[in-house]
């Protein structure tokens, strides 16, 4: 605790309304009895500029070094008041607030009870204020280059958008050419542009940009460093090189796989996968015998994949257009909750594609060079249908790219149950990894259609830009502190930190201790609560502050 505490308490009666429930001058009189409370004022509108100006003057005139504001919820104006006291020359973290509006006078209509509670709340805030500590800001230089891993459409788009934002990008692709799945797809319905056209346009843009550096046949080996200053080791053939970058975007896409085990039948000349079909559609002139009837089946191995249903719709329409003949799609549920998908489905219907829905997986067998499909059509009272077709196209499941396992362990980014990259939290941070500065875009972490993947490319580009827009990042230095003398280097905090914001560091090359990475730290305080040596102190939420708050427990109730 600071010896020369000079507390200033600023009460706000919210336009005089709170004064109706209690006598603010009585509260003021009580507060003035505390020896370290230097100054108490009553305001009616502390949230407005004028009152804040007066507050600044009071702080300066009275040499106040800890500020207590008893007003509305800190969720509303805490940041405001932090700026106000900062402008008055007090570190912005030396502020403690008592929520006497939302959590007191507004919630408790009984005036006496509310007054007692308000007094207790102000007491708590004063107690806490005595233990406040300043947090200084620091500037950290960052490398403004971005590394994009994966040269599929998502990676390409991210690189182009980064370049639009004036960030230099290295785009690495493990194959010899860019394009990824675009090289395999026969069409991009519901998008009318062909994959070849789209790729050509994008590649032209990439080629024109000076600030996009493309490395094909290259793989990421390892990454060291932290957000703002990563060093990535990249292998090309037998050569290894290091690229420094401030952010990394994973857009490694997905692979597809047919699992005869799950589906219960094998592939043959007449039973092919969606990707095999795409090959045939792409080189339709080489197809010698045009199948008269084709069935496409989906939802047998994965009921919830949008990509697999979308391929069935795309290719059904593709077959109709290229070969004609009878085309039938079998599925459980039509997944049409995406841009243009309902329309694509209707186009299929209009072109004569038949749809059959099932609840129980159809039985598939081969008979006289044809494929026999026995299915209960749920739309016609579960009637047993037997279909014979020349060609059956079966769905494939999306599987993670081969290197995700190794990359995830070398970079310590998480994987989900299927082995795709795991976002930090799907709805809170949909494209962030569990490491600050590393992002995921596209199908390497979720089942997305082309439009969604492009949206993500755009979003991650902006995230990277926001991080690296300035050459120096401003951070709150040591807002969480680890006492190197107390740290036992037990690794508990390093393992527990949800943001990978604690690293190993040597103090004077002698003792290894844990150290907070200010750039990645989100100030949650989990580390402080798990530390068995009580070596960690979040300056805004220290044990002393928290314990001080219930020091007065019971006294005012």
């Amino acid at each position: 605790m600071d010896k020369d505490l000079r507390l200033g308490v600023f009460l706000c009666d919210c336009g005089g309304t709170l004064s109706k429930a209690t006598d603010f001058s009585a509260i003021k009189a009580k507060l003035q009895k505390f020896s370290d409370v230097t100054y108490v004022s009553i305001s009616h509108d502390l949230c407005l500029k004028k009152a804040q100006k007066a507050m600044q003057k009071d702080i300066k005139d009275n040499g106040i070094n800890r500020v207590v504001v008893a007003a509305c919820s800190p969720e509303l104006h805490e940041k405001d008041f932090m700026n106000v006291i900062k402008a008055a020359g007090v570190n912005s973290h030396l502020l403690s607030m008592a929520n006497i509006r939302e959590q007191c006078f507004w919630a408790h209509p009984d005036k006496d009870k509310a007054t007692k509670k308000a007094m207790a709340q102000i007491g708590m805030a004063i107690n806490r204020a005595r233990f406040l500590e300043p947090v200084e800001q620091a500037q950290i230089s960052v490398n403004r280059d971005v590394l994009v891993i994966g040269g599929g459409i998502t990676g390409i788009q991210a690189a182009i958008e980064l370049s639009n934002l004036n960030l230099k990008t290295t785009l690495i692709e493990k194959e010899a050419t860019l394009g990824g799945k675009l090289n395999q797809f026969a069409n991009l319905y519901p998008v009318q542009v062909t994959p070849e056209e789209l790729l050509a346009t994008k590649l032209k843009q990439v080629a024109e940009r000076q600030d996009i550096d493309v490395l094909t046949s290259a793989e990421l080996v390892d990454v060291s460093g932290e957000v703002g200053n990563f060093a990535a080791r990249i292998k090309r053939g037998n050569e290894e090189s290091v690229r420094n970058c401030g952010a990394i975007i994973f857009a490694t896409g997905y692979n597809t796989e047919f699992s005869s085990q799950i589906c219960g039948f094998e592939l043959s000349n007449n039973i092919i996968t969606q990707s095999q079909l795409e090959g045939k559609l792409k080189a339709s002139s080489e197809v010698k015998q045009i199948p008269e009837s084709v069935c496409l089946i989906t939802n047998i191995s994965n009921e919830h994949s949008q990509v697999s249903l979308l391929s069935a719709l795309r290719n059904a329409l593709g077959i109709k257009e290229k070969f004609g003949g009878e085309v039938c799609v079998l599925c459980q549920n039509l997944k049409v909750d995406g841009a243009g998908l309902e329309k694509l489905y209707r186009d299929c219907r209009n072109k004569g594609v038949l749809f059959i829905k099932f609840d129980n997986s159809p039985r598939i067998s081969e008979q006289d060079g044809k494929v026999k499909i026995e299915v209960e059509d749920v739309l016609v009272s579960g009637e047993q249908l037997t279909l014979l077709c020349n060609l059956l196209v079966v769905e494939e499941t999306s599987v993670p790219p081969l290197d995700s396992q190794t990359l995830s362990s070398t970079l310590s980014v998480g994987l989900d149950a299927q082995g795709f990259y795991q976002e930090k939290n799907i709805h809170l941070y949909p494209t962030a990894s569990n490491r600050e500065g590393i992002f995921f875009a596209g199908n390497c972490h979720a089942d997305l259609d082309l439009m969604q993947a492009l949206t993500e490319a755009s979003n991650v580009a902006l995230s990277a830009y926001q991080l690296l827009a300035q050459e120096k990042m401003t951070v709150e230095a040591e807002k969480v502190m680890i006492d190197p003398d107390k740290c036992r280097f037990c690794l508990t905090c390093i393992r527990a930190c949800p943001h990978h914001a604690i690293r190993e560091a040597g103090v004077n090359h002698e003792k290894m201790v844990a150290q907070i990475v200010d750039l990645a730290c989100q100030g949650c305080g989990i580390c402080a609560a798990v530390c068995p040596a009580k070596a960690i102190k979040p300056k805004d939420w220290s044990d002393d502050q928290i314990l001080a708050e219930f020091e007065l427990l019971g006294e005012y109730v």
Partner: protein, 218 residues
């Protein structure tokens, strides 16, 4: 690392019954790391004892300290002043720590607040498993770095029993069969021959207790 566990509060209360003022001493090494006796656990126990004494209506004064290592006399010496003020010392360290304190301050009773359980390594957050029994005759060269004395439920030295089940132990199906691990490791290293050699049962009684190590030079 030495792994320990807190004793039940009931046992601890019984030990210190009747004392008016006690000192809780944590140890900054192994037991801090295994969450049993660091500064935090000292505070937790202290809080529990205070609550208990308030509840029972007796006045117990508690001093707290956590030192670098309790197994060194020189490092324990810093407690001198505090020990003189109290009726008893409650040590949150391994058995070695308790004994060092007892020896350094023979006038004041020292009590263990922990049960020293084993030597082991962390398996996950907050989970430690026994990996070494300090038998005094290390066998790991022959078993690919997996100790069958500890990690095999039956301590077998010459291959698995008949109860190995898909790599799991018949005694506890949650645990890996040590001999399956040994086989896999040796196979990986191309040293399966090591398994051909027979080792007679070991006579643990022959190990001289208490053990003593005298290193020839510093």
């Amino acid at each position: 690392m030495i792994v320990a566990e807190r004793k039940p509060l009931e046992d601890i209360k019984e030990m210190i019954a009747g004392y008016k003022k006690i000192l809780l001493v944590g140890c900054g090494t192994c037991v801090t790391i295994c969450w049993a006796g660091g500064e935090k656990e000292v505070a937790v126990l202290s809080s529990q004892l205070k609550l208990a004494s308030k509840k029972d209506g007796n006045e117990l004064v508690i001093l707290e300290d956590t030192i670098e290592r309790q197994c060194e006399k020189e490092l324990v010496e810093v407690l001198k002043d505090k020990v003189q003020q109290v009726d008893a010392v409650l040590s949150l360290a391994c058995g070695v720590g308790v004994q060092t304190i007892a020896e350094m301050f023979p006038d004041t009773p020292a009590y263990p607040a922990l049960n020293t359980t084993f030597m082991g390594m962390p398996e996950g957050e907050g989970i430690w498993v026994e990996t070494c029994r300090a038998c005094g005759d290390c066998f790991l060269d022959r078993t690919g770095g997996v100790c069958p004395i500890v990690r095999c439920a039956k301590g077998l030295l010459n291959g698995p029993c008949g109860g190995t089940n898909n790599g799991k132990c018949e005694v506890d199906p949650e645990k890996d069969c040590a001999w399956t691990l040994i086989y896999r490791r040796l196979e990986q290293q191309g040293r399966l021959d090591a398994m051909r050699k027979y080792y007679p049962p070991r006579n643990f009684q022959a190990v001289i207790r208490p053990g003593k190590v005298e290193a020839l030079q510093a």
